[in-house]
Symmetry: C2
Subunit: 317 residues, 2 copies
């Protein structure tokens, strides 16, 4: 039985194995993903993003507990940025969300595959797809919003929650543009801290100032204390309200079209490159080109032109 | 006269224009880069990386002043991470290094082109190449070491300085692996702060513990107070010592080979993709595929296979 078939029967070990195959870039993983694809689209994907120290992991932990108490199965994809400075990814799955570790209705996976072919957002979407196929009702993607890569990741989510903390002070100016666009819900966590009301108010003002379409979703600012579980139920209600809007307004169709287009482009890019590498390795082209560049006989741009003319026929020009 | 020719005559405006063309991804930029390529390899490239708040910009400013006092022309490529949270890139060229703004021997360029085709490290290497061709003796690449993208950038440098600050405390364990590998010189900046000696000592110990090849370069830990200019001359001496090692040990040949190979791969990847997009747009393949995916008639993986078989002929399999 293929991994895909085992996963569709709810086999958690098979899902873990396929995720490992995806990480390792094994070609057969693609065959399994293809088989799973028609059986996906059932999970609701929630993105949780925000700066380091905002308490995202604790929030995800509480959301997971809450969804579990409703009997929903929850998958968590935690993106640990592999910064050489912050360490990242060191925490890993093991010390994450210990209290759910014996719960079969929770599937947690940390990703730190920076530099992987296709990038982190591809790995994330593939892993979310496997969780979806495995029967998870909710998939939470948690990511530190530090760069474009992470911003791309939240595009995979149906509802994106941006988590902030009080005390950003004047820096709130700095978070304007990009961040206001990506959030469907804004969460001021650690709401017991001084300045929480001010941060929430400033965020609300900034959100109101946008010239939003009257028919568009208008994001709310919620307050939570994830550590104590305060505000979690209200947040879940708001997520569900956004979900209802998302499904009934037809936004979901744009979302699905854009997502499949993005996946297609990303896969196409890698596939062409991999095929070209194989060809060059077999034909000895790669060695020849590298030797020429080493001698400064040819610049990399011209070298690429030479190789591409061999690989792609003229008729496609 | 082409931009390339003007740049080779030292025309700063032409250099700025070509950099803009590179940013915008204009195809003719490649022709200019090709013309410049044989005239490069003269600039010495120094990478400065480290966590936010380590004082990198001030250090770069001081290094620039010091190199200028030696009569050397200095180019600076400052990578501002475009984080939606930290703002980044907002500072830009204008408020950077004001005191050098009237000095024709200094060329400063901020890059924040996340998401650009080929990525940030490609843009960085292209901009450094233009500065090299323009006659800069030293090119300093300043980057916040937050992700793989930034780590890739320092690979463009001949000498990489990793800047730290005192007070990392126990977190120093977290910076181990990756960061020790990329630094040729380690700088403890803000050395007047409490704990500077301890941080320097811990770094030294960690560096000594590595099983280094006896013939390899052994990185030193330097202390600076960039704000006051303390330790800058010593740092420059150490950079020059590394340069001497780099050139005399033959390390430079490996460096050049790896760099041209890396550039070639990156350009190849983009070129194949761009050509494929053009073909698909002309032939209507793109619209057809997107429509099919929208209806869930085909998964993105199978869609790519179908398209690739049209684009790349069988004989290259």
């Amino acid at each position: 039985m293929s991994l895909a078939e085992q996963i569709l029967e709810g086999n958690v070990r098979a899902a873990a194995r396929l995720m490992r195959d995806i990480d390792d870039g094994r070609p057969q993983a693609i065959d399994d993903l293809k088989l799973l694809y028609p059986h996906t689209g059932n999970a609701y994907i929630i993105g949780i993003t925000g700066p380091p120290g905002a308490g995202k992991s604790t929030l995800v932990d509480q959301l997971t507990a809450s969804f579990r108490s409703q009997g929903k199965k929850v998958g968590v994809v935690a993106i640990d940025p592999t910064s050489p400075f912050t360490g990242g990814a060191i925490l890993g799955d093991r010390i994450r969300m210990n209290r759910h570790s014996c719960d079969e209705g929770v599937f947690i996976r940390s990703l730190a595959t920076r530099g992987a072919l296709g990038g982190l957002s591809r790995s994330t979407s593939d892993v979310a797809l496997v969780m979806d196929a495995l029967g998870m009702d909710i998939v939470i993607i948690e990511t530190v919003g530090v760069g474009q890569d992470e911003v791309d990741i939240v595009k995979e989510a149906h509802t994106t929650c941006v988590v902030m903390v009080p005390g950003l002070g004047d820096d709130i100016q700095a978070i304007k543009a990009g961040i206001l666009e990506i959030g469907d819900i804004f969460v001021v966590n650690k709401a017991d801290r001084e300045g929480a009301d001010r941060t929430a108010r400033e965020l609300s003002t900034m959100l109101e100032m946008r010239h939003a379409d009257a028919e568009a979703w208008s994001p709310k600012v919620m307050k939570t204390e994830a550590q104590r579980g305060t505000g979690i139920d209200e947040l879940i209600n708001e997520i569900m309200a956004h979900r209802t809007f998302f499904l009934s307004s037809g936004t979901i169709y744009d979302f699905l079209r854009e997502r499949s287009q993005r996946h297609f482009m990303s896969i196409l890019r890698d596939t062409l490159f991999k095929k070209a590498l194989l060809f060059m390795a077999k034909s000895g082209t790669l060695d020849r080109v590298v030797a020429h560049m080493g001698n400064y006989q040819i610049d990399p741009y011209s070298a690429v032109e030479e190789v591409v003319s061999e690989i792609m026929p003229d008729h496609i020009d």
